[in-house]
């Protein structure tokens, strides 16, 4: 039963992940962390960190990893197959009718609103990533705007991580270092900071 859920859940993600999977993280947060509570946000962040530094495209790595944690070997397999099946069907159809697809007024009108919406999901995923790195907790937008009355989180700035954040942005923006080097350097600095600050900081 669980395996069937995994397959269709990832097929659903596969249908909706536009712009090459950049909005996928927001779907994982919403569906796997918030709605189904299969893992914590930090847990998802850790799986993503490992997927980023292991060989293979990060999207496939993360899908396999998420599937494995829920359903073992078959869970990993079905999550990967589920995620890639929609694009296999849609991409084959698109290449077959490429000229029609490319010039299609309908497809272009779809992209007109899909692109900004996808970007919004990239932005919210970025907020989530900030909430588990340079901030000590998730950014409480709903509390700040008065959507919820009571705030029980622990939001603050994690000062020791801000220089690393700025370093990562500058290195990636100026293309001085590859993504891989930035990630490994950040892992090293993160470990060093933890070692200096001692076990209590965690």
């Amino acid at each position: 039963m669980n395996l069937i859920v995994i397959f269709f859940l990832f097929a659903y993600f596969g249908c909706l992940c536009l712009s090459g999977g950049s909005s996928l993280l927001q779907f994982y947060i919403d569906e796997l962390v918030v709605a189904r509570q299969w893992m914590t946000l930090e847990g998802l962040g850790n799986l993503m960190a490992i997927s980023q530094v292991t060989p293979g495209p990060i999207g496939v790595n993360l899908a396999t990893f998420l599937g494995y944690t829920q359903g073992g070997f078959w869970g990993g397999l079905l999550a990967t197959v589920g995620l890639l099946t929609p694009s296999y069907i849609l991409m084959s159809l698109a290449v077959k009718s490429y000229t029609k697809w490319h010039d299609s007024r309908f497809v272009r009108s779809l992209m007109y609103t899909l692109k900004p919406m996808t970007l919004a999901l990239v932005a919210t995923a970025l907020f989530a990533a900030l909430g588990m790195s340079v901030f000590t907790d998730q950014i409480p937008f709903d509390y700040w705007t008065g959507m919820v009355e009571k705030y029980e989180g622990n939001f603050g700035i994690c000062w020791e991580m801000t220089p690393l954040f700025i370093f990562a942005i500058v290195a990636l923006w100026k293309k001085k270092l590859s993504i891989m080097s930035v990630i490994f350097i950040s892992a090293g600095i993160g470990a060093a900071i933890a070692a200096v600050m001692g076990p209590a900081s965690a």
């Binding site: 909706l16 992940c17 536009l18 090459g20 999977g21 950049s22 996928l24 850790n46 997927s51 292991t54 060989p55 293979g56 495209p57 990060i58 999207g59 496939v60 790595n61 396999t64 944690t69 990993g76 397999l77 890639l84 694009s87 296999y88 991409m91 084959s92 698109a94 290449v95 077959k96 009108s109 779809l110 007109y112 609103t113 692109k115 900004p116 996808t118 919004a120 999901l121 990239v122 932005a123 919210t124 970025l126 907020f127 900030l130 340079v134 690393l164 954040f165 990562a168 990636l172 993504i179 891989m180 930035v182 990630i183 950040s186 993160g190 470990a191 933890a194 070692a195 900081s201 965690a202």
Partner: protein, 208 residues
């Protein structure tokens, strides 16, 4: 490299079975050695299938970037499907896609199997993870800025972007509903109200 020429020489009359095998194997190798996102794969795949095998036009994959990004799916997966389909039809697409997913599957399954044995609760390991998450936040910020120009080009697109952020951050709406709304809003706005399609960003960039 000398062996490149040999493969070039007989690439004109390779059997279909060998072609399928090469699609699988080349994508398996590409995915194994390219770490990170999909664009690195595009560059390597172009190198292999254009220069080594002459199975794709020069610059074909880069030209198809708009299509690869438009169709839902991972960039790496869509590149494999496109290349495989162009070279050997649906079977080629399936083999190329399997090749691109296989290394991840093997490596991650091995890591996940031993995941519980790793000392993840150790504070130094946690520190390393926090470091990587910080780098990822930086990576996502850079990606956001790079996508900004091609995604937000007029007031309605800004409105959709801001509405999307508010819907997720404040109202905790399911992103699936938002994509669904965007799918309806685009054609309704462009074809029924505006009666013209704003020029796509890729077209303008391609003309440069």
């Amino acid at each position: 490299m000398p062996d490149n020429n040999e493969i070039n020489a007989d690439s004109q009359n390779v059997s279909k079975a060998r072609m399928l095998w090469l699609l699988f194997w080349e994508f398996f190798k590409i995915a194994s050695f390219v770490v990170g996102g999909g664009f690195a794969i595009l560059i390597v795949a172009e190198d292999v299938f254009v220069k080594k095998y002459h199975w794709l036009r020069d610059g074909e994959l880069s030209d198809m970037l708009a299509l690869i990004q438009t169709v839902p799916g991972l960039t790496a997966g869509n590149i494999a499907i496109y290349t495989g389909y162009r070279i050997a039809g649906t079977a080629g697409a399936l083999l190329a896609l399997t090749g691109v997913a296989m290394p991840s599957f093997i490596v991650i399954t091995a890591i996940a199997a031993g995941f519980s044995a790793l000392p993840l609760d150790h504070y130094i390991v946690q520190g390393a993870f926090t470091g990587v998450r910080t780098a990822m936040a930086g990576l996502m910020l850079v990606a956001l800025v790079q996508l900004w120009k091609s995604s937000l080009r007029d007031p309605l697109q800004y409105a959709v972007f801001i509405a999307g952020i508010i819907a997720v951050s404040l109202f905790h709406l399911n992103p699936g509903w938002l994509i669904g709304t965007a799918l309806i809003l685009g054609p309704v706005w462009c074809m029924a109200i505006l009666r013209r399609i704003p020029k796509a960003a890729e077209e303008e960039e391609a003309q440069k």
